[in-house]
């Protein structure tokens, strides 16, 4: 059973090169389904890994996961579609889940920390796709001016999600850092690329000049409430762990 779970984790949390196949399949999905599938994969994969303890100290797997993370962080640097961004971010988080697992971390903690902001991110992305059909560098810009609430939530979500220090994932990510020098270098670079790519994404999506040819519609109260709920949940989880750490 453990082996089945372990192998299923490879499918739900794909590492390079399996990720090439999984991503191709995911890319073909429509936006809503894609985000649903990604969230499902992250949850299912994390639970699978939680239930198994195979290869927990494998250095090879650890290096593969780190390289996979680096690769997708690098890939994120050149994306022009929000959908691409979500796809590569998912693969990056999958790699991080593996690193977490291989360093002996509790996968339930990973779930609690990464899933709420990922759902918040998915909700925001879906709201954009519902309004604009395509969210591309050359189609939707400058939301900061026209959709301020969306923009604030989007920026916070990305920070929460992508290991920014002081946010939950950031604290745990930086704790996983100092295993070997190789890890430090690879994960350090991956983190750098990831943040760079976020800045790049925010530059065109949030902080540029809005297009005059689009009809911008604000987030509904329901959408805002849902996103805030998941963000608060992630902060709440962080507080619990922080308190636990302090005690």
């Amino acid at each position: 059973m453990e082996y089945i779970l372990f192998l299923s984790a490879f499918i739900f949390l794909p590492l390079f090169p399996i990720s090439l196949v999984i991503n191709r399949y995911l890319f073909a999905l429509k936006t809503k389904k894609l985000f649903f599938a990604q969230t499902f994969c992250l949850i299912a994969g994390s639970l699978s890994l939680h239930a198994t303890s195979i290869a927990k100290n494998s250095m090879t797997l650890s290096i593969l996961a780190s390289l996979s993370m680096l690769l997708y962080a690098y890939r994120l640097l050149s994306v022009d579609h929000l959908k691409d961004f979500a796809l590569y971010l998912f693969t990056l988080l999958s790699s991080f889940a593996w690193i977490w697992y291989l360093q002996g971390g509790n996968m339930l903690h990973f779930l609690l920390i990464q899933i709420p902001p990922f759902i918040a991110f998915s909700l925001l992305a879906i709201s954009l796709y519902e309004r604009f059909v395509v969210v591309h560098r050359y189609s939707v810009n400058g939301l900061g001016n026209v959709k301020p609430y969306f923009s604030i939530l989007f920026v916070i979500t990305l920070f929460t999600l992508t290991f920014t220090p002081l946010f939950a994932a950031g604290v745990f990510f930086h704790n996983r850092f100092a295993v070997t020098l190789l890890h430090v270098v690879i994960l350090g670079l991956a983190w750098l690329f990831l943040n760079w790519s976020i800045v790049r994404l925010l530059t065109w999506l949030v902080f540029s000049t809005p297009s005059r040819h689009l009809q911008y519609q604000k987030l509904t109260l329901k959408e805002i409430s849902l996103v805030i709920f998941f963000l608060v949940l992630s902060v709440f989880v962080f507080s619990i762990f922080a308190a636990k750490g302090a005690l």
Partner: protein, 1031 residues
Amino acid sequence: MIVSDKEILYINSLIENSVDLFHNFWPMTGFIHHNPLHGFEDMPFEEGVKKASHYFHAKTSLSREAYRKFYEEGKITDTHLQEELEHYCSVHDLSKELYVPIFLAVMTKGENLYLFDKPWGELSSKQEQIAKYLQTLPFDPDRLEERLGVHWTLYDGVDKLYDTKIDTKLNEKISRMAMRHLDEGQAPWQPMEREKGMFLSWRRLVRHDKVFFDATKPLCRLLENTNKPEDIIFWVLHELQIPRNLWQDLFVLEFSKLHGWTGFLRWRSRQEDYLPQKEAPAFLEEFLAIRLYYIYFHLARVGKKIGFFPNFVNLQAKLQQPEAKLRYRFFSKRMLPEYIAKMEEMLRGEPNEREWEELWQRYRKDEHRNKIEAAAQFLDKVIGLCGCEIKGEESYKELLINLQRWEEDEGFLWQKAMEKRYLQSMMHDIANASLQQKRAKAQFLFCIDVRSEIPRRHIESVGDYETFGIAGFFGIPLKVIDIKNRHESNLAPAVVKPKNIVYTFTQKEQPSKDLVRALHHVYHDLKYNAITPYLMVETIGNLFAFDFFGKTLLQNLYMPLRKKILQERYETERMIIDKFPKSAIYQTIHDLQIALIKEVLKKRYGIEIFDEKLQEAIESFLQLAIAKEPLLVYDEAQIEPKTKLGERIGLMHYEEMQLLKTLQTKYQISYGHMQMQIDKLTCVGFTYKEQLFYAENAIKMIGLQNFAPVVVFCAHESTSENNPYESALNCGACGGKSSEINAKVMALILNKKEIRVGLAKKGIVIPQDTLFCYAVHNTVTDEVKIDLSLVLKEREVRKIQEDLDRASKQAALERVRELPFTNGLSKKRLMRFIQRNTMDWSQTRPEWGLSKNCAFIVGPRSWSQETNFANRIFLHSYDYRLDPHGYFLEIILSSALIVGEWINLEHFFSAIDNRAYGSESKIYHNVTGMFGVISGNMSDLRTGLAMQSVHLRGEIYHEPIRLLTFIVAPFEKYKDVINRIKRVYYLVYNEWVRTCFVDPKERAFYHYCPNKKDWVKIDFAIAKEFEKIRY
């Protein structure tokens, strides 16, 4: 290629014509409010604004949402909107019954109701029906090639097709070059050969730039061999195959890319006496040549990537191809979302022309369908909003076309309706004025600045005081030279070049602070060195924490203390306002020259005792030095000295020749220099006639007749910290400086007995006991302090000062409530808040300045005395009865009105489009070159007002209204004054200001109505009832 003189002349004339559309930009030390569209004033307002918006990529008016906010606040009414819409319909031959309700509904109720490219959601059956009607309607024919050279430069075209961002790269490159060359003392290192001019200095540098200089290329070879920027301009234009008829347009487009630098260069290149221009000359043709040089290189480089050299002909051909049309849509973010993935795929591959054509045909159909559907949705919403009924295909098409056309003018309609509302309200107030006159115990002459309105009102309320409005330089343009600080500045409106110089001699109030000064110098030297700042931060950086916390958290305690320690206080001791006699001028220069020669002899030869014979020898040597023709010529064979001085102090012949040369070159003791000194000294002070002239003009212009025992000239100034825009808050009529010197000079002149005798002969009798003195009004704190140094009747003046203090406090409390964060504060805390604003380095808005200005009244104070105009009105006193020929009115209109219009339209356009005409947020501003500000570390020179001056919390604070000008004078007799001054004529009849005569004889208003293009009469009796005013 060496261009002929004829061609050079042609290019220069094109440049001159092009830059006429741009306004001057003065250095920030003397911020001058100006109309950013000054170059368009010979066109009607709306036409000028539309044309300028094309060059500056600016908006023509505020958004519908912004105007709707004013509408909700009652500043725009349905009645006025309706009137404007009716006029619009009659001009465009539209049915008023149908269109007025439609337009009105869209304006006042239609939220986010615009015509978009794409529909929102599914279409209802009714919308589908409308869409069917609109099927045959053509949308926006694509003629990209026609925009080239007129709307787009070549690299704009390339940027739009290939997303190359040449425009951004060019602007950065040119801004960097301009910052480097035009620096006035901020940069520690100066570019080489600056004194040779911008072009040659840049050429010296670009030779080392491997990216932009390749000696094998023809353009670089030309650059090596020419000193004329016109050669480069001519060569590049030819190489890019730009048709000659487009050169002018292209120059305008190029200059508009960096209109801040263009404006500054335009001003600088015309200032022969401006020292930085002498030290580092810079002209517009040089600026353009450098830009064109880089343009050529960028285009050549991009050409290699895109497979063809994008000159005019090639690019025009390209723009007609389907590929270009699709690329344009993709990179300008207008592409339909469903085509984005396909387009990306096409761009990654190498599709042939047929594939592009196929995609384009498909795309065009879908785009058309989308536009039709969006239009149908839009029309359906519009019709639903106003509840009208439209029948038939043609009616729908017509409605759509008319709505599209109307949207372009919508902003102007809002604006005119808002102006009408204010005009109506002011007419009502003026018509109801009771015109009471009372005898005053003191008279105050304030600047016409809108900020004077509040203190004037409060001063009038605290006692028997009368106030007048006059341009802040008090009609006396002068240049002041502060001998102690070696500082000179013009105290006159920017358009006036003062002829007279006033010297001020200052004396220290307290002992010298040499140590503080020395430390200050060392600190600045270290700060501006390339290496030392690193060391400085490490060693003494922590000390600045005290300063930082003091300035940030404890301003009220710390800043006065800091000022006391660091600043040396001076007291003006003496001021020269009378002309020197000729003999005195010669004697002064002579004495100076003798003293200099003695100094040289002392330094060079150690001579300390000057007996009579040596004095004589020096005199004769001086004559040799200042002779027009050289009297002493070097003789190689001669060894013995030829002059008495040489003999006396034992010099060889060659030594005395050396001494002569040193005196002439280094110490400027020569004929030429002496003449210059004479000319300069001749300008010092005013002749009796000049003094009399200025005094008479000032008094008559404002209609000052019954002199009170004390007459006070109130100068004004503003105090703030860390504010590059401080001069924008000072007196605009004094070139952005304090008007204190002008006030003092005027008071000194009018206190002279001989001047009073002269004035009496001209019919102005000033009682013997009348005393003229001056005061300074601080516009941040509203303190008005009378200077007691000129005062003989100290007791009376002290009493007046007490009243002033009371009035100041009331005025300050009224003014400060307009600032944010003042709600609910007690009076005591408000006063502290005001004081803190003068010294808070983080305060971006120490005062509102001239924001919200909207009107200008030229007439006696009695017409405006009873109304609270809330700091929004320029008030110039004027009595037509003292001006039978309209001579003074002519002066007021040609100076004060123009300054008022500049200020008004500066605020107007900065509010309408702060990015294009203003300078955006102060938070990101950095001072560059000690003459201007840029945003961030690299940008165009920011010229207009900062966002903090016209916006509040993201919303418009300054209501953009053209200056409503009221002239109190009989209409028939004085209307010709407008025609006498060409610039004023343009302003009035092209509607850059809204003009209205207040005819006291006929008791009626004569308003120039833009809709009727004629003067319209409105009787006071009608105007007294607010609702009845119609025009």
